[in-house]
């Protein structure tokens, strides 16, 4: 009984503990990802092409001596206008021990979200794959899609990892 109350309390506290999220836009949609997975944000530079890679893999860049693949999430999710300007940003992610760059329309904000603020996403059944979505959050009447970026980037869909087990 006591244990239960305690765990109940713990869960309640956890609900109140806020984590920071980086939000970015893809087309008209706003996404939020765990800021601890973000290594840095930098401008887009033309990458070196990788032959026979899917279109959303733009190629690889030299990030201070590390070869980093660049994924254009706009192409992957078919959102927004695909154009590369000096203002196009690349979010350098550090997921699953790898460094991966993701091209997005723009980076908007860093926000704090508590667990309680993240609501489960409705089930879209077959039309939309919700397995990378942790939930939806609303801040100042903006809806944000909270994404499990690590799961997304390591998934077989992204074709970034040889044996995509995850």
């Amino acid at each position: 009984m006591e244990a239960m109350t305690q765990s109940g309390n713990a869960a309640g506290e956890e609900d109140l503990v806020a984590s920071e999220y980086l939000t970015f836009t893809l087309g008209g949609e706003e996404y939020a990802i765990d800021i601890l997975k973000v290594q840095e944000i930098r401008g887009y530079e033309p990458p070196t092409l990788i032959a026979n890679a899917p279109a959303f893999i733009k190629g690889v860049i030299n990030l201070r001596g590390t070869i980093v693949p660049i994924v254009d999430l706009r192409i992957k999710f078919n959102l927004g206008k695909i154009e590369y300007t000096p203002f196009t940003v690349v979010i350098i992610l550090n997921v699953a021990g790898r460094v991966i760059g993701a091209v997005v329309d723009s980076v908007s904000d860093v926000i704090s979200l508590t667990r309680a603020q993240i609501r489960p996403a409705p089930d879209f059944s077959a039309t939309f794959d919700t397995k990378y979505i942790l939930g939806l959050a609303t801040v100042d009447s903006r809806m944000m899609i909270v994404t499990d970026i690590e799961r997304l980037m390591t998934s077989a869909d992204m074709e970034l990892i040889d044996s995509a087990a995850a």
Binding site: T48, A51, I61, G65, T66, I67, P69, V99, I161, D162
Partner: protein, 780 residues
């Protein structure tokens, strides 16, 4: 304060592995008829060092086995025993087992317990055998007790067992052993309650010498806390009074010196404050009468190898590893020679000296009232000092990190240089000069950093005498191994990976190349075959040759076998092509499958391994004269000589070692096969054409073939013409992994960063040549 020993384990493992390697090398060099005492000493020292540190770190299995090994070695060293070939075999075998044990302690592999038992038994037997063989009266050993006399002798045995052996079977086994030697009487023993831990006193009546049991006692006893007094002899009662200690083979003389400190745990915990240790120190003197005269120690000091005294001292690990590596325990003695320098007062010296605020040394020093150690300590100190200066142990990761950083620096420097070049006349002279100097400095820096990873190839070569020795014995062949160029340096990564392929080539030469002695004599050759192992630099490559003067490769047999296996062969093939067939998977011409080779797995693996290192292997052979396998390897895995080529707007790097020539094709040079595959005639040979822009789906700059360049590549015998838009230049590039953050890409082996900071992909020539081949085959 307990010291966490586990942090020193890696040092111990490395060190022991080195000692084992050294021991093996020395054993193989040993002239059995007339062994060099220096070498014997060196072998003994290696074994002893392993034992010492294994004991300190609590690896009892290692310590026990080396102990037995050491006993036998010691007797040989002192010329109590003649060296025999079987002993060398036993030593080598036990060396292997010790290596297994080390591996097992590091969590790799398992130890064959039975084998360990067997080798221990064998070593013991060799050392006892010898007792009979050994001259009973060794003139130069003035120790009457040594000579086995038939009469009944009485020994008083006193010892304090280690906790481990007391609680385990150690003491019981010892008692059983002693009972088998004669009549045993237990004079005093510790209470049952404390599990046999404590002071034991036994009396043994028997006709054996004390060497028969001394080493068992030494085993059980805590770090030499034992002694045997031959108290009465039935026939001659008085002269047993001396001769204890130094005559027993099992008594490591060195240990005797500090043996009084029975439970040595104290120094471990209380080190270094000497004040605490002192009290503990005395306590242990009690069971031992003053009769521990200084001349015992003197004798042992002369025989022991200086450091031996102090080695198992638990204080050792508290030293920084660098010191521990070279000097074992003795480093401490250097600053305090005066403590050990009072030969006149052996018995009461300890008390006085201990009181001196003399740091940890006091624990050990008082028991060495002889001048001898002083000199040794000085010597030891200088040795350890020199060792500390000449080399340090650094983890490979640190070196690799350094190499990476320098790689970055080289790239940055190239970028700067390019920027300056773009400024042309506008660049100030001072900037240009500074950049030129920077370029020189970075190059030097890069070279020296790369050289850190370089190791002489003798690291690999040194294992082959053993391979040849074992195998030639097994096959009944007489083979001599000649090596040259052992100092040729090679990247550490390559050293590790070349060992297996080379071992295979040597086994192959031994098994298939060198003939049996009778056959050799019949062919008019010397019955002793020769395998030559040569390493040298050639261009940017390391060349390693494995040659034999055996039968050579039978061309016809290989061709026949290839036909049998359904391979496409013809009699017109060149020798080189025929010989290369032996690298095909599953190919073997051996009539008989032996446990050495002949299963046909192997040569293909050898070739694959060498290729994966960016090298290649070639065979030259002449029937009846011999065979020579030539392995060519790049100097290092981290840097590659590359040719940069342009395809469309992309730049790729083509490893230079695969490039044969390049030329501009003329109209009509390129023909098609079945309207699909293209071929081009180059020097009378039709080569498949691989258009890189097609492979990589890039829009080419030039519309037709005459505007581009054909690069002829040779990837392990498969030739192809690679069509590219232009040749850009030649660079040394630092290889970066593409897989670290991405995945494998077909046709690409890695990536590098160009002078302008862009990434260029490195072509996987073998894969591309393979594509060409399959294209042609599809078309044909």
């Amino acid at each position: 304060m307990a010291i966490d020993m586990s942090q020193f384990y890696q040092v111990f493992f490395d060190e022991s592995a080195e000692h084992l390697a050294a021991m093996e090398g020395l054993l193989l060099d040993l002239d059995i008829e007339n062994p060099d005492p220096e070498q014997l000493n060196a072998i003994f020292r290696a074994a002893h060092s392993i034992k010492g540190s294994a004991g300190t770190f609590g690896f009892t299995d290692l310590a026990e086995t080396t102990h037995i090994l050491e006993n036998l070695l010691d007797r040989i060293r002192k010329q109590e025993l003649g060296l025999r070939a079987e002993m060398v075999d036993a030593f080598l075998e036990s060396g292997d087992l010790l290596r297994d044990m080390l591996e097992a302690h590091q969590g790799r592999g398992e130890v064959d317990g039975a084998a360990v038992e067997a080798i221990c038994a064998r070593l013991r037997q060799l050392s006892t055998d010898a007792q009979i063989a050994a001259p009973a009266a060794e003139g130069n050993t003035p120790l009457p007790a040594v000579a086995p006399k038939p009469e009944v002798r009485v020994f008083d045995i006193q010892f304090v067992p280690t906790e481990v052996s007391a609680k385990g079977e150690g003491v019981k086994n010892l008692l059983a052993e002693l009972r088998s030697l004669g009549e045993l009487e237990i004079l005093s023993q510790p209470d049952e309650g404390v599990h046999n831990v404590g002071y034991w006193q036994l009396r043994l009546r028997g006709d054996c010498g004390q060497e028969a049991f001394a080493d068992q006692i030494d085993f059980v006893a805590d770090n030499g806390a034992w002694r045997v007094l031959e108290s009465r002899q039935i026939s001659e009662s008085e002269d047993g009074a001396f001769g204890f200690f130094d005559d027993s083979p099992g008594a490591p003389e060195e240990d005797a010196a500090y043996g009084f400190f029975a439970p040595l745990d104290a120094p471990v915990e209380q080190n270094p404050p000497a004040a605490n240790t002192q009290d503990d120190g005395y306590g242990f003197f009690e069971p031992l009468p003053v009769a521990e005269s200084s001349n015992d120690v003197a004798v042992s000091a002369e025989e022991g190898d200086g450091y031996g005294f102090f080695e198992p001292l638990p204080a050792t690990p508290s030293e920084p590893p660098v010191v521990a590596e070279e000097g074992d325990g003795f480093g401490f003695f250097a600053p305090l020679p005066e403590v050990v320098s009072s030969p006149s007062s052996p018995a009461d010296a300890p008390v006085e000296q201990i009181v001196e605020p003399a740091a940890p040394v006091a624990v050990v020093a008082p028991e060495k009232p002889v001048a001898e150690p002083r000199a040794r300590a000085a010597k030891a100190a200088s040795a350890s000092g020199a060792g500390g200066d000449s080399s340090i142990r650094v983890s490979v990761e640190k070196v690799d990190q350094l190499i990476n950083l320098v790689g970055e620096l080289v790239i940055t420097q190239a970028m700067l240089l390019q920027t300056a070049a773009q400024m042309q006349e506008n660049a100030p002279d001072r900037l240009v000069n500074g950049l030129a100097q920077l370029e020189r400095n970075t190059r030097d820096l890069q070279e020296s950093v790369m050289s850190i990873r370089m190791l002489p190839i003798s690291f690999v070569f040194s294992r082959f005498p053993r391979v040849v020795r074992d195998l030639s014995g097994k096959l009944g062949k007489q083979v001599e191994l000649k090596t040259s160029g052992e100092t040729t340096e090679l990247d550490k990564g390559l050293i590790e990976r070349i060992a297996d392929p080379l071992t295979h080539l040597i086994r192959n030469s031994l098994d298939h190349g060198i003939e049996l002695p009778e056959k050799r004599i019949a062919a008019g050759k010397s019955p002793v075959g020769t395998i030559t192992l040569k390493a040298y630099h050639q261009g940017g490559n390391i060349v390693i040759e494995v040659g034999d003067d055996g039968g050579g490769l039978p061309r016809n047999k290989i061709l026949a076998k290839a036909r049998e296996r359904g391979l496409q062969v013809s009699d017109q093939m060149t020798d080189q092509e025929v010989f290369n067939l032996i690298f095909e998977a599953g190919f073997s011409t051996a009539e008989q499958v032996t446990d050495v080779s002949g299963r046909g797995v192997g040569m293909d693996v050898v070739r694959r391994n060498i290729q994966s290192m960016g090298g290649r292997v070639e065979i030259d052979s002449m029937l009846g004269v011999g065979t020579r396998m030539t392995v060519r390897l790049p100097l290092t895995l981290a840097i590659l000589d590359g040719m940069s080529i342009a395809v469309g707007d992309q730049t790729y790097i083509l490893p230079l070692s695969y490039v044969i020539e390049s030329f501009q094709p003329q109209t009509g040079d390129i023909k098609t096969l079945s309207n699909q595959a293209r071929v081009i005639q180059v020097r009378g040979e039709y080569l498949p054409v691989v258009a890189l822009h097609e492979v990589f789906n890039i829009k080419p700059r030039a519309g037709d073939f005459t505007q581009g360049i054909m690069v002829v590549i040779d990837a392990d015998g498969i030739k192809a013409a690679l069509y590219v838009d232009a040749l850009v230049g030649q660079h040394q590039v630092v290889i970066k992994s593409l897989e670290a953050n991405y995945r494998r890409v077909q046709g690409i082996s890695g990536a590098t960063i160009m002078g302008d900071g862009h990434v260029a992909l490195i072509l996987d020539v073998s894969a591309i040549a393979g594509m060409a081949k399959s294209n042609v085959q599809k078309a044909g």
